[in-house]
Symmetry: C2
Subunit: 128 residues, 2 copies
């Protein structure tokens, strides 16, 4: 099961070029890197391996004309990481699109949830 | 690579209850069942096995209070299948949400695509 499927509500993925997409997982990863200053720590908080987190960031960095995350080799462990200004912009853009999607689908989604066999009323509020 | 990642643009998944989501794959499958009258044929057109297609439909049917697809045992092969009225409603609802998402994210997505290293200008139009 994907982690993003635990909470009910909409999930947005934007395919930027064939095979390269930005979705909730990469957005959360960027956000944790911003907050923790470390790819390893960000990955750990999201339950992914360092290799997995690094691969996702490498994919994003290659996809954009300018990197979203810059790393510095630290004396111990895996060194530090930070979002570039471009990284901040892309993350903010994704969060705006996510919020716009929530608003755009809310009415239909509420109607749809009433047709679902088991749907605790408090679940939708968590997702949007 | 997921089939849905070939064409650039937004992809919407709605999580209806924990672990049960409706996204482009299931929506396309419902649509093909409506058009072909067969789960096997619908799956074939989408490049998925009969077992896979049947499992997705069974999951959807169990998720909703009323089934979305009804099947009849035919004399040969896997019998026929059709969308119920509820199935038509759910598919229409998903397509409305998908269109609303496209409109809601268009501006941000166009700006984002300009930051991508390789983004042929004609790709976005295909997705929305």
């Amino acid at each position: 099961m994907k982690a993003g499927n635990v909470t009910t509500g909409p999930r947005l993925r934007v395919v930027l070029e064939p095979e390269i997409a930005l979705g909730p997982g990469k957005a959360d990863l960027l956000e944790r890197i911003r907050d923790t200053g470390s790819i390893a720590e960000a990955g750990r908080e999201l339950g992914m391996s360092y290799k997995r987190a690094w691969t996702l960031i490498d994919e994003l960095n290659r996809c954009f004309r300018q990197p979203l995350v810059e790393t510095s080799r630290g004396g111990s462990g895996h060194g530090g990481a930070a979002l570039t200004r471009r990284g901040e912009e892309v993350l903010a853009s994704y969060r705006r699109m996510e919020a716009a999607t929530c608003a755009a689908v809310r009415e239909d989604l509420e109607a749809l949830r009433k047709l679902v066999a088991s749907s605790p009323d408090d679940l939708l509020a968590k997702a949007c």
